[in-house]
């Protein structure tokens, strides 16, 4: 029996049992669609976070407080303020920190911002001019906080793209006033939209003020030694090669300033953009894997569905197998027919599943995710993975019933039922 005849036979028999074939395919369709849909979410999260972090620039080093003794990210949150504006100033000295280009202290907190009748609650960041370059922002209008603003504790503010829109609509806010904690600030600039979110906080929803104004007029917070506390310090070095050396220098300077003895652990952490990126990628990689595993299970269930239906169909069609054998079908003919049926089901199921998965991914992209626009990523490797698993499962689950069908003795098959 030629391949063409086998295929025709398989197709005819699938067409003769449309409902059964459709239900079997449904298992594969759902499985494949789930794999593609869910993994595209994982990949989307990964891509969005990665692009955000890459915006930081590979020359950036983050210095943040850390609770001594705690390891990993757990130690980084909810820590006592240990870093200060004075620490940042010390780090800006090129004779102490090699290759340092700029240092930006970052104080941040939440407050209501009012402009006319509009009021929003958003993140208020106190910093210095170096912040814009270190974070990779650019301006659409006006100017950024200047050194002069910092030394004079000027009541000026720079708005993030979304904050500007929320407060002023399409009008240019530069020169307008906003009220923060009852104090009036003059808007001097608006940042260009950056997109993406860092740990769920949009990079376009913020109000930036001079770090000196931040401490003296808005949020007074001090370290144990009485210096003005900051949430983080962003250090930029001149080249990516100097990052590791600079981290060592930063640690020396800060340990000295914080009077840590040789046995004491660091009360801060200096992390390069690369380290953050790899850690975050590890986390999102696990997320993608987890989503993939969940989807894989549904694919497996689909495979078991095929096996079940193929087994039922072998039993149901024992007589048919007997008839075919009586008129001269060989083992391999029967085997091929049943395998081809399974293959057609998994192939067609995969094709429809891919389409459904891609549509699903598109729909997910439309949904916003914690207020953030969110783009799923469907890549070729996900699709290839999904189809190969589907076809593998389809064939494996088709082989056993097919072998059983092929082994039947013609007369036993004919007398069945």
């Amino acid at each position: 029996m030629g391949f063409k005849d086998s295929l025709t036979t398989a197709l005819k028999s699938l067409a003769a049992n449309k409902l059964r074939s459709a239900l079997t395919m449904l298992g594969i369709i759902i499985g494949v669609a789930a794999v593609i849909g869910l993994m595209s979410i994982g990949r989307g999260v990964e891509a969005s976070i990665t692009s955000t972090l890459e915006g930081l620039g590979s020359n950036a080093i983050y210095v943040i407080p850390q609770t001594p003794g705690a390891t990993g990210f757990g130690g980084l949150t909810g820590s006592m303020p240990t870093l200060s504006v004075d620490d940042a100033e010390a780090l800006a000295d090129p004779s102490r920190v090699r290759a340092v280009a700029s240092v930006a202290p970052v104080g941040s907190n939440y407050a209501d911002v009012i402009a006319g009748s509009e009021s929003i609650t958003t993140s208020i960041t106190g910093t210095t001019p170096a912040y814009m370059g270190a974070m990779g922002y650019s301006l659409v209008s006006g100017q950024f906080i200047s050194e002069r603003n910092v030394t004079h504790r000027d009541m000026v503010a720079v708005l993030g793209d979304k904050t500007a829109r929320d407060l002023f609509g399409e009008a240019d806010p530069v020169g307008q006033k906003v009220k923060i904690k009852g104090r009036r600030f003059t808007v001097v600039g608006v940042l260009a939209a950056k997109g993406g979110a860092m740990m769920g906080i949009s990079q376009d929803e913020m109000v930036l003020v001079p770090i000196t104004t931040y401490h003296s007029r808005l949020f007074t917070q001090r370290t144990a030694s009485g210096e003005d506390a900051v949430q983080s310090i962003i250090v930029e070095v001149t080249s990516a090669e100097s990052v590791n050396g600079a981290i060592l220098d930063i640690e020396d300077v800060l340990r000295q300033r914080h009077r840590l003895g040789s046995g004491d652990e660091d009360d801060f952490a200096a992390i390069s953009q690369e380290q953050i990126l790899s850690t975050v990628q590890q986390i999102t990689g696990v997320l993608t894997l987890l989503l993939g595993a969940i989807a894989g299970i549904s694919l497996l269930v689909g495979g078991i569905g095929i096996m079940n239906i193929m087994l039922v169909s072998v039993t149901e069609r024992t007589r048919e197998i007997g008839i075919r054998k009586a008129v001269g079908a060989k083992r391999r003919d029967i085997l091929r027919q049943f395998l081809l049926e399974a293959a057609v089901i998994s192939l067609v199921g995969s094709a429809v599943g891919i389409a459904a998965g891609v549509i699903m991914a598109r729909l997910f992209s439309r949904l916003s995710f914690a207020g953030e626009a969110f783009t799923t990523v469907v890549s070729a490797d996900i699709i290839i993975l999904a189809i190969s698993v589907a076809i593998f499962i389809g064939l494996v689950s088709g082989i056993y019933p097919a072998l059983r069908a092929a082994r039947l003795n013609p007369i036993d098959a004919l007398h069945y039922g």
């Binding site: 036979t9 003769a16 007589r319 075919r324 054998k325 008129v327 079908a329 060989k330 007369i411």
Partner: protein, 222 residues
Amino acid sequence: MIELENITKVYRMGKVAVNALRGVSLAIGEGEMLAIIGASGSGKSTLLNIIGLLDRPTVGRYLFNGTDTSELNDNQLAELRNKKYGFVFQDFNLLPRATALSNVELPLIYSGGVSRKKELAQEALAQVGLAGRAHHRPNEMSGGEQQRVAIARALVNDPWLILADEPTGNLDTKSGADIMAIFHKLHQSGKTIVLITHEPDIAARAQRTIRLQDGRIIAGGV
């Protein structure tokens, strides 16, 4: 030429063994029309299935044109069934979802390299007087018509031997007579035919009759 020597068939069902055939020897020559009769349970179907290579004997030799069939593997048996044998069953055994034409075509798709399958199948249908029913499915045809489709299927590969197990058993007298007329016509055209029947007048019109009883031939053997 088919030669059976001392064929025995034992069915084992757990501890119980049924001796369906107890030493049957039989020769069937080319162009013969042989009727097998005997009481129910005497072993007629068992014998016919062994002759038709659907089943293997427990003991005994079966020669087809001098070849010992016990030395053939499953694939070679399938090929013999396909090319040299045509089977007609009491309950037709057609594929229920396939048309008459597809049913008749079935042996051809397992033959390998047969071209003009549709034409050959159509010719076989015409031979049994069903040229106009090619696209009907079994459930759209009478029992007699279904049996004629089954005969067309048995004929389509131009086999050496046609075997029929009570081909008229499920049919009314009129349809049965039509079916038997086809068998006689085939016999006259030179086909070798072996059929099982319970009806004495069908047996009487066969060229030769053997009677089975308790798995042995008691009349008309060898």
